[in-house]
Symmetry: C2
Subunit: 307 residues, 2 copies
């Protein structure tokens, strides 16, 4: 799957993933209003609104980027109907040829991690039959429990040709509280990065990159530079660009000299572009076109950083 991601990046020229993190504040009013009138102010109505909103976004960007990254928390927040909307979003992205990175940040002890891995990247086995699970192509994984919490994910990656991104250095302000602490002079995040290399060592694709990638926040470019060198064969999923403060010029640190090795996420900056002054001309009705314009601007911003 990492090879399909690389092919997608080459084809579009955009090492960009669009974060589909819907909140009620981001969904244009004409969409929520329609479903609230039809179904009342209910989680089911929100789920329908999310689904329509996401379809509009996917239609607008599917030719421009290789992948989308729905953040499952934003769907789980609306209970079962929200998770149905998550499933529909994954399915629709696949229909349009997009890869899907499930931002699920799961991680548990062995047998439990296996359940998560099968749910999101594998198949549901029931007696003699198999059913699709949520069917993302990649998932984000929390490393705090160590190798036996990650191995079930890499096992499923091997079986199903899928990939993961392990949290190494997250984009949030307090990520350093534990991740930056030094163990014999080495930050914890670097120790995790070394494990990422180990976990992916037998899952190298034909383009030379491993199925085990890493999450490193755009908000920490210096650490991005260090971690890039520690994990030369791991793709880095870079959150924190745009709304969280990560800047285009800093992104170069996350890429390898081949121009590959990183994929940058933007969520609010794209899906809520119509609410920004810069794209205000599109209005709420033009939210999808505004998202498209924001993707094109982001593509240019990254190209300049890499030039």
């Amino acid at each position: 799957m990492i090879d399909r991601l690389i092919e997608g990046i080459k084809k579009t020229g955009a090492p960009i993933v669009v974060g589909l993190d819907p909140t009620l504040k981001l969904i244009p009013e004409q969409i929520t209003k329609k479903y609230f009138e039809e179904m009342g102010e209910t989680p089911e109505a929100v789920a329908e609104a999310i689904t329509e909103y996401n379809r509009g976004l996917i239609d607008a960007v599917y030719e421009l980027v290789p992948a989308v990254k729905p953040q499952i928390a934003m769907y789980e927040a609306f209970g079962i109907p929200g998770l149905v909307a998550f499933q529909k979003t994954v399915d629709y992205a696949h229909e349009k040829g997009l890869l899907v990175i499930g931002d699920i940040k799961r991680g548990d002890i062995g047998s439990t991690s296996e359940a998560y891995a099968r749910a999101h990247l594998g198949k549901i086995k029931v007696g003699s039959k198999e059913f699709p699970g949520f069917s993302e192509d990649f998932a984000t994984v929390n490393p705090y429990l160590g190798t036996d919490g990650v191995k079930p994910f890499t096992d499923v990656c091997r079986e199903e040709g899928k990939g993961i991104f392990v949290l190494v250095k997250t984009s949030n302000p307090s990520s350093g509280e534990f991740q930056d602490r030094e163990i014999d002079g080495t930050p914890l995040s670097k120790l995790v990065a070394e494990k990422v290399v180990e976990w992916g060592s037998e899952l190298i694709g034909k383009n030379g990159y491993s199925a085990v990638g890493a999450v490193v926040g755009a908000t920490y470019p210096e650490q991005g530079r260090l971690l890039r060198s520690v994990m030369p064969k791991s793709f880095i999923l870079v959150p924190g660009y745009g709304a969280q403060g990560g800047k285009g010029k800093d992104l170069a640190y996350f890429f390898n000299k081949d121009g590959l090795g990183a994929i940058v996420n933007s969520s609010r900056g794209i899906i809520g572009a119509y609410q920004q002054e810069k794209y205000a001309e599109y209005g709420a009705e033009g939210y999808a076109d505004a998202a498209r314009a924001a993707v094109l601007d982001m593509k240019e911003d990254i190209a300049q950083a890499l030039a």
Copy 2:
């Protein structure tokens, strides 16, 4: 909620939580067979089987223990129907007066953690209305992202009177890979424990315990002893007893001198008791009675350890 948990432990005399971690191997054949015949070998049939299995278990143990702990991965493994079974299990446990610890191990950056916190411990806000979420009483939380990933959970705990258990030292074999690494002579798990104290410092209940507890595995009793002393006002949720190898005599380390401060989880050891030689007399039909007998034996084992 921590006060309700303490009252429940005092009333039952059992600092025990029953882990409701259903897998197809654990559910008695008469239950799966019934639903497979009716609905085919489908995730929907598994979900019905899980729901019936759990109801039988809850009916058998609700007067003996204060709480149950469904592991959401085992439900998520069966997709949307599995998560519906999770919801029904939480609701049925509540009907029977049990507290519910959602073993969800979520954790993300601020706004995303807030979505998880509201989904599991808070309410779903839709326009002017509020709906119940999954409505657990406690949730387990992963600390890797630091304070701003945990604070949304403690905020919701304050608003809703709920509680969390933060992963400090997990029960699995490779938990030491990162958690035991020493930072200036202090293991990472102890640094996390110190943060648990800080995060809970303004959420102390009337029994003197904080709404922010910790997860420390029964498989590491020496570390349990250390971490118990670091977090005197935090309840410790102790997984790893029984099937994972944790022994009764080691449990004393996790308790305070008041006989409180810990609640021990057993999952397979109770819900799959009927498959063990010791409880074989009950047979698959008597799985709930076998679970009841296993709870009583565990209660005795812990009482001896604390004597």
